[in-house]
Amino acid sequence: MGITSKLLNLKLRVWERYVDGNEAVRTVYNNRRVSDPAFHEKHRFRELLWLAVLILRNPKNYAPLGINRPLAGQPESAVSQRPNPEAFVNRYLSYEIASFDVFDTLLLRPFNKPDDIFALIAQKLGALDFPDARMAVEKELHTINGEITIDEIYAEIEYRLGIPKDVGIQTEFETELELIQPNPWFVRLLNLIRFMPKEIRIIAVSDMYWPAEYIRKLLDKCGFDFIDKIYVSCDYGVAKRNGELFKLVMDDAGWNARVLHIGDNRIADVRAPRGLGIDTFFYDQVSSVAKQYRPTFVSPLQASIYNGVVNSKLHATADVYAPLYEFGYVYGGLYYVGFCNWVRQAATDTGADKVLFMNETGAIAAQVFSMLFAYAPCEKLLWSNELYIRLSPLYSFASFVDTLCAAAATTAVRDVFIRNGMGEIATELAGVHLDADKPVHKNNKNRLADFLYAHRERIVLAANDEQRRYAEYLRTVIAGSGRCLLVDTLGNLKSAEIISNIVREYIDANFANEVGFADEVGFADETESAGKRITIADRLLFENKYHIFSRNHLSGNKSLFCLLSSTAEPQLGGLDAAAGPLPMLNFTLPELSNAVQAEQIRSGILDYARDYIRIFKNYPTLLNVSAADAAAPFLFAANSPEYMEYIMDCYMMREAQSE
């Protein structure tokens, strides 16, 4: 073996072990590769060296695959094991005071770490160095002064960055107020306590730099407007963690009062109050319950937002969700948000005034799109694989014959003919000595093909009639639109081309259709990136897709990805002539054996999109999820064989194998 081969082998081994086998590293590497392919091609070794330095400098961020992985065998939401509030509230029968920590307990920020909100504040303030400075100031002042106030923090920020103190405080508070979310577990618990037969005083105790009047506004916004009193460390100059703030609480309540305090910090919320005779209950932070189940992203802000939304959903309450619902929510939701934003961008770039999602697998995308961009016209275009076969004689008779013969090999020939609108012709099968009530076998397969070729003219004529009827339907869909963007999530480019042809032939020869293409794994494949479909794809975020779903990673993932677009909607079976100007659309009932499962996945995806929009509606830039980030959760799931098996088992209604 020559030296070149040895080097290549070594490179391959390094690649497999440290890049391909590590989802976090692979994402960064691929992003780099695609951002400047020419440079990457020329300086591969330098690129690998850069990657090595990156990993060595931040080993935690690039932990090898195996540490973080999706939970298989049970729903992730079952891990947190929160008690039901309606049962938990019974404990309060023997207490006079119900005390709660505020942040990460009563209130949740939609981020993985609270500091991540500073990136959004920096955008508003137009100060890119704000996040680092803000964190540094807080830490330094804390070391010097102990309990600090927001005034002190922003006086220092004003000195360092020149941001006026009042502007800084107002911006940070407004952002907090905008994004803060109530913890649903506590909403229920506190409301139950509030209306208990026995009167119980509800208080909040927090180590925080915001004074009580600000925290009161945050609590009010989240529906906790009935809290009697708020004790904040910055108001009193003493903290929870050494018990001093709790002493004030007990001074007010009377030292004989029975108090139950709930919080998320083992020292400040458990050990310190217990030392004073206060009973406690530890509420583990949603982020710490779930951290080993989350993927790594390219964008730290997207990672933080995704983790914040998902963790709050799965781990804040006692609810346990169905595994497939979780699959949709956790691993499919962000993909659809990113994908639909990409479609919207594509529509804008091409001047399209309407987006058409091709039915069958585009139904979920259409729903998410409508949710995200209520103002942008979008419609589900009725189409199906069945219709594609019916019209295919017009485009490739040979492939039509192959398709029909293949179908007839497993199903009675008559049924295949009837399904494809050729029931009349089926009566003539006896003439060629074919038993219409049986499938064809290899000996008489050619006879069927010959029969079809012999009736070519009739078949084409029938297909032509059907196509004309479809054109009438299509006319109503695109009426009033100057330019449509057709999104084909089927991966069958031929369908999109047929529709384009129909538009040009029957409706408007000058109608400008662009075909934004997304194949069955969501994006165009490298080898297929040619022709007009790339006119949209190559300039946009989701263009860089082959590096995400490269062929190397497809083999096992394809079926899992298909689950993310499966729906149990009626399919367009064909179009019949009707008395009026419009044809009669015929529908066939969808495959129902997995209808419930498909519905669970769909609900999960839509709920993620709904939650995302609800929280970040005022931050449209956050919708601009890169392809790499959008796909990160899915790839994280797909890279775990155990999880894949678990989900496929749930989908196929097989009992998941227990260890």
């Binding site: 509030p85 509230v89 029968l93 139950l192 509030r194 209306f195 129902l592 419930v596």
Partner: protein, 539 residues
């Protein structure tokens, strides 16, 4: 005579106090911590001298409490002359049965002996971690405790007025009738001091004030019993008040264990916050409320004669409450089409249906609830709910001979209309009517917004014409819903509605099958676990 008296619930304790009085130093009471926590005055009472409770902190498991009693307190169960046990399916009852000690059995609550399936459903329910509500459920089942048939039961104390005759006949010779309201009234007459002491012990307020138009609602702790989710519990009472108690001032008397926030759900209601047994209510209120209503509470049965108006549903309402809209829409259509004179139903919650008709003023003089198609009158309007036990041929014959209309409700996941309107009977017209729900509030809103459908089938053209013209709307104030009931305007719309309805029905059927399968799988796993544990023990 030394007596040991064990009660799991307040009802049982009250019953035993009334029945077994007077008490001496030798009488020992055992009660659950749930009673103890709510009624701390028990330990200060003049009536009860010695009482022990299974402190939930020290004795989270029943067995350890018994160990404590028998060892530390040096209590020998065999030395008692008589033992009385309520809530026998819990650890103490099981202990006695396993030790072969005879005792007197008290039914769980009034009438429960005749409907043990309700108690069994609660006891066999599991929480989110698969833990049984009653860890002794299997044993209780095996020892015949739910049915009161164990040979160690010397007497079975139950309320005769609420028992099925066959149940009493089966236990002949052993049963003892005890009616708590009658006993309390007797107490009021013969021993008012004892009643006063009882009221004091159970925190009964000195007086409760009712106004002329008050509806007193006795609640149950369905979500804590895991019979419903928290959200379902709220929705159930919202529908209950919207459909049955419209126009009344609501006064809630929560079950002592029910901590639901009714004041938040129904801001204008009154809640009787004092925790005390509802059975003692008639002795302290200023007047009778206009109506006493409950989904399931023995308080109403106990004092049936005390309350002027009375509304009591059954445990079936826990499943049928979500069909209230379609029941209501069906009644509205029957009224609109003038078909209220002769109505039959199949597969609907009959008590729910009747109560809805009564409380909403539908003059349905003749409602017959049938279980077989053959029982229905040919010219009656038939309302069909769950009818999945009927084959297509049953339907075919039924539909052919009918002259009256048939209203198919698509609830319960089994839209029977699909089976009934097969192509071979396509001469019968089918008109769908959609029930659309519009959300009116965000706070405490957990109702489904999915469309529901009614399918009107009739060979009578006039009825079908009425179906086409039928529209109505109703605002459900407490639920925060507006119902819009409308027939399709065009044939295309009608066809779409039919397909949508069929699709939904198929989905629901399938979902029901999947859920059934999952329940069976869970049962199987649980039984396998029990079997394995038994094997381990044997080894």
């Amino acid at each position: 005579m030394k007596r040991l008296i064990s009660a799991l619930t307040v009802y049982q304790l009250t019953e035993m106090l009334c029945m077994l009085r007077p008490f001496t130093e030798d009488d020992v009471f055992l009660c659950s911590w749930k009673i103890w926590e709510k009624y701390p005055r028990l330990s200060e009472s003049k009536i009860i001298r010695r009482i022990f409770s299974d402190d939930k902190v020290k004795f989270p498991r029943g067995d350890s409490f018994l160990d404590y009693l028998f060892s530390e307190k040096d209590m020998d169960v065999k030395k008692f002359d008589e033992i009385y046990v309520g809530g026998c399916q819990a650890s103490f009852g099981i202990h006695l049965v396993e030790a072969g000690i005879p005792f007197t059995y008290f039914e769980e609550m009034a009438g429960m002996l005749s409907i043990p399936e309700n108690l069994m459903a609660i006891d066999s329910s599991v929480d989110q971690y698969g833990v049984l509500f009653n860890p002794n459920h299997e044993k209780a089942l095996k020892y015949g405790i739910y049915h009161g048939t164990n040979p160690l039961f010397k007497k079975v104390v139950c309320d005769y007025s609420l028992q099925k005759p066959e149940v009493l006949a089966g236990l002949e010779g052993k049963t003892v009738d005890f009616n708590l309201p009658a006993a309390l009234r007797e107490l009021q007459r013969d021993d008012p001091e004892f009643l006063h002491e009882l009221c004091w012990m159970f925190n009964v307020p000195d007086s409760i004030h009712f106004d002329e138009n008050d509806a007193l609602v006795f609640t149950q702790y369905f979500s804590q019993l895991k019979q419903l989710t928290f959200e379902e519990h709220i929705t159930l009472y919202q529908y209950f008040c919207d459909y049955f108690l419209n126009g009344y001032n609501l006064v809630f008397k929560p079950h002592p264990t029910d901590l639901m926030y009714y004041k938040k759900i129904f801001p204008n209601c009154e809640v009787i916050h004092q925790v005390f047994p509802s059975d003692l209510m008639p002795f302290v209120c200023n007047r009778r409320p206009a109506l006493a209503a409950t989904v399931w509470s023995s308080a109403i049965d106990n004092f049936g004669s005390f309350y002027d108006g009375k509304l009591k549903l059954t445990m079936d309402y826990l499943r049928s409450f979500s069909f209230a809209h379609s029941y209501f829409a069906a009644m509205e259509f029957l009224r609109f089409a003038g078909l209220t004179d002769n109505v039959c139903t199949i597969g609907v919650d009959s008590v729910h249906f009747d109560a809805l008709a009564r409380m909403n003023g539908y003059a349905m003089h003749k409602i017959r609830h049938c279980s077989l198609l053959a029982e229905t009158d040919d010219d009656a309007a038939v309302v069909v709910g769950k009818a999945d036990n009927l084959s297509a041929s049953d339907w075919s014959g039924f539909m052919r001979r009918r002259t009256g209309a048939v209203l198919f409700l698509d609830n319960d996941g089994r839209c029977a209309f699909i089976d009934a309107t097969r192509p071979d009977i396509d001469t019968i017209g089918v008109y769908p009517i959609r029930i659309r729900k519009i959300k009116q509030k965000d706070n405490e809103f957990y109702s489904s917004l999915e469309d529901e459908y009614l399918y009107i089938c009739s060979s009578d053209k006039e009825t079908l014409r009425m179906a086409v013209n039928h529209t109505m709307s109703k605002v459900l104030e407490h639920s925060g819903l507006e119902l819009e009931v409308k027939a399709p305007a065009t044939p295309e719309e009608r066809r779409i509605m039919e397909i949508e309805g069929m699709l939904n029905a198929y989905r629901r059927r399938l979902k029901a099958e999947v859920e059934k399968n999952a329940v069976l799988e869970r049962e199987l796993t649980r039984h396998r676990g029990i079997l394995n544990r038994r094997k381990d023990i044997q080894q």
